[in-house]
């Protein structure tokens, strides 16, 4: 039998394990922490540029890669890695790259790096989440696999081609992009991270990204990886001294990974993280007390709205939709529920884009309970309304508040319905089940009105889940795409937006804002329209 001694042994063993684990864990890298800005993010899903569409991954990639263009304060695209991007007809675009740029493994950046990366991104079987950006380039359709039985068990046939016909190399530093239809705003689109180049080292074979690449991406940017991606912990990057583009001011960045915004906020207040780009709603009321003037707000591109399932009969009369919109008090909602962290929306595109007009929605977005009630009655609106939302997001409070407003203004019953997940919401709308009004949000891909008008409201729009269709509107958006100059485009798009104000396919509710905070040793912190920290401007005071 075990006798008397196992007792003491068990205690001793536990003590040893605890001590050992305690000692092994404390590999401190204090020097890195004092020289680098520590910016909080969530665990990125991917670090391959074309597969990254969420903000945390995008933010990390921004430090490792240098974009062809980026935006100035007026949202105009400005060349960065590109020397020039020109087009005589908005259809064939010539990209000239700047000389002497290298990847962090000293490989020169050439036109091939862009072409190969883009072909990889657009190739259907690679299933890159950012593939839809390449839809405008000629030959995109031939790179998509045609599955004989949809999502069925049979393997899809290989696509017809593996390279976009619209991409052509002229010389080492020049290539052309041919679009399938002219698009005046194409230069702005190129700023997105899916258009970053990939080095030869990223590919293990033509068209195959090597398995370890994502753990330590090699880019053409101002920083390079130090070590590799420590999943769920941090990603550390250090400044490249031989970098030819704009030089950031900090010696390095530690992208510290949090699972939860509350815990990130706790670290921000305690000074363990330098920047938090999104302060959680729960902490907003105490943030200005905790952070003083280090608590800041800046506009971003988020647009929150409620869509009408126009396939449902009771919502087919635009006057019903207008009446419901007029029954909602947007100011009260942003003030009481969002504590001014969002602003009331009275337009169909975000203020972040050129061509935005502050009140394009007109009277239909003005709170007027009396008028709303008479209009609703005369238009024969349904006797009860529902607003569906996904219960895994922070939506219950404002949906209930909105319902209360509608109930008070229109005198009809209104209830909020929580669907477990966003996909449940979409599935119902896509199958044209009677879903009632549904809550949705949108952030832009590039700062053009088209980034809202196209996906959200055109008949074939990728995020038009409520079945709005108006061919005049579609034509105007297309005419805007094809216009000669960006100014002409905006004119057409504004005309299209005017149609929305008449038709009211959605109720615009709120525009997003970045509510961010930073530590005492940090300065010059700005968060842009995409919710990203400007890594070129941020500075830290290094203790001597």
């Amino acid at each position: 039998m075990l006798g008397k001694s196992p007792w003491k042994m068990a205690v001793a063993a536990t003590a040893i394990v605890l001590l050992a684990s305690g000692c092994s864990g404390s590999g401190s890298e204090d020097a890195d922490y004092t020289n680098s800005a520590i910016i909080g993010i969530l665990e990125p899903e991917h670090l391959v540029p074309s597969n990254t569409t969420e903000v945390s991954g995008t933010q990390v990639l921004e430090s490792l890669f240098y974009p062809l263009v980026s935006f100035d304060a007026q949202n105009q695209p400005v060349e960065r890695a590109a020397q020039s991007i020109t087009s005589p007809d908005n259809k064939v675009w010539t990209v000239k790259l700047k000389k002497d740029f290298t990847f962090s493994n000293d490989e020169p950046v050439t036109a091939d790096n862009y072409i190969n990366a883009w072909n990889y991104a657009a190739y259907g079987p690679n299933a890159q989440l950012g593939a839809y950006f390449f839809e405008r380039i000629a030959g995109y359709a031939d790179l998509q696999a045609r599955d004989p039985d949809g999502a069925g068990p049979e393997k899809p046939a290989a696509p017809k081609a593996s390279a976009l016909t619209g991409l052509r190399k002229i010389d080492d530093l020049t290539f052309t992009i041919t679009l399938s239809a002219p698009f005046a705003g194409w230069k702005s689109v190129l700023a997105y991270n899916v258009f970053y180049p990939l080095p030869k080292a990223a590919f293990s074979a033509p068209g195959v990204i090597s398995e370890g690449y994502e753990d330590a991406p090699i880019g053409n940017g101002p920083f390079k990886m130090k070590g590799s991606w420590e999943h769920d912990t941090q990603i550390q990057v250090v400044r490249r001294d031989n970098f030819k583009g704009d030089k950031p001011k900090v010696a390095g960045i530690i992208w510290k990974i949090y699972q939860d915004q509350q815990s990130e906020y706790a670290d921000l207040v305690a000074g363990n993280v330098d920047v938090q780009t999104t302060i959680p709603v729960e902490s907003l009321s105490s943030a200005s007390g905790d952070l003083g003037d280090r608590f800041k707000k800046s506009p971003n591109s988020a647009f929150q709205f409620v869509g009408f399932p126009t396939f449902q009969k009771e919502f087919q009369n635009p006057d019903v939709r207008k009446a419901i919109s007029m029954a909602v008090n947007r100011e009260e909602m942003t003030k009481q529920i969002f504590l001014d962290s969002q602003t009331p929306a009275t337009a169909f595109v975000s203020p972040a884009v050129n061509g935005y007009r502050p009140n394009s929605c007109g009277v239909a977005c003005k709170y007027d309970p009396g008028k709303a009630r008479t209009l609703y009655k005369s238009a024969g609106g349904p006797p009860s309304l529902t607003i569906s939302y996904n219960a895994d997001g922070p939506h219950k409070a404002w949906v209930d508040a909105m319902c209360n407003q509608i109930r008070a203004s229109l005198g009809v019953n209104c209830t909020g319905i929580g669907e477990p997940k966003f996909s449940n919401l979409l599935a119902k709308a896509e199958n044209k089940q009677p879903v009632g009004m549904l809550r949705l949000g949108w952030v832009m891909d590039y700062p053009l009105m088209e980034s809202y008008l196209g996906p959200l409201y055109t008949t074939t729009g990728s995020a038009n889940f409520w079945g709005y269709n108006n061919s005049t509107f579609d034509d105007l958006v297309k005419a805007g795409d094809a216009a000669k100059t960006p100014a002409d485009s905006i004119k057409k798009w504004q005309q299209a937006e005017d149609i929305l104000a008449k038709d009211m396919p959605v109720i615009p509710l709120r525009f997003g804002q970045n509510v961010y905070g930073y530590s005492e040793r940090t300065s010059n912190v700005t968060v842009d329209l995409f919710g990203e920290v400007d890594i070129y401007k941020i500075e830290i005071a290094v203790d001597k």
Binding site: L2, L18, E214, Q259, S263
Partner: protein, 308 residues
Amino acid sequence: MFRYLVRRLLQMILTFVGATFIVYALTFANADDPIQALAGERPVTKAVRETLTERYHLNDPFLVQYWYYLKGLLTGDFGTSLTGRRISAMIEQAWPVTIKLALLSIVIAATVAIVAGVISGVRRGSIFDNSTLALTLLVLALPIVVLAPLAQLIFGIKLGWFPPTAGRNASLYALLLPALVLGSLVFATELRVTRSSVAENLRADYVRTARAKGLSRRRVIGVHVLRNSLIPVITLIGVDIGTLMSGAIVTEGVFNIPGVGFNLLRGIRTEDGPLVVGFVSVLVLVFLVVNLLVDLLYAALDPRIRYE
């Protein structure tokens, strides 16, 4: 003893397969559209959807999917998560910190509970006894979702005694606060059980005999009473491992510890079946092994117990 061990191990295999099956079925029932969950609120193109569906066998019937998974598991392959990370690597990275945290909180909770339980069992009705009663009631009443952020706010931010978050490579000191919070989940019941068990054993015949033999009070309580009183407490600690693991889902989130609890939560949120099942399988294994060890410890505590 040997036959007992073999029997238990065989039972463990059955339990293990059964548990993974049930968990797989549950996550399967929970998953509506993992691909949409991956893309957040952005639209997913048809090509992406089709390719990912084929890659992860998402469209196959449940039993076929489970078969793919089991086949991988039997060859030691836990599969990949929907974001393309190897689940075996994720488990490897997540376990050390969770084990550290769990051990720390077990040790703290058990030490405090047993010491305080013995004292209040010996001095029933004293001020100490009554105040521990009040304290345990308070701790039992506070759910961990309240306790964890509260402790973080008070001790991490306002008083600044502990770092507010820990992280993967946290020092023992940084883990102390989360361990205390986690330990509070189990400390209260352990204390109550120790107390009643000690109180009962104090009246037992063998204690009277020991006293009559003239043994010192310290020896009577420390050796004779304690050893017999620990059997129910040890059982409880074994079962508590499960409580600690589920409590870790909250604690690890609040204190930013990328351990098992956090990964489970992420897997559930992103409808990532293989990820959830991978972590639960290992959890089930730990739970089974710990409880086997607990059963074996009985024999050490009470020589009358024999396993055949």
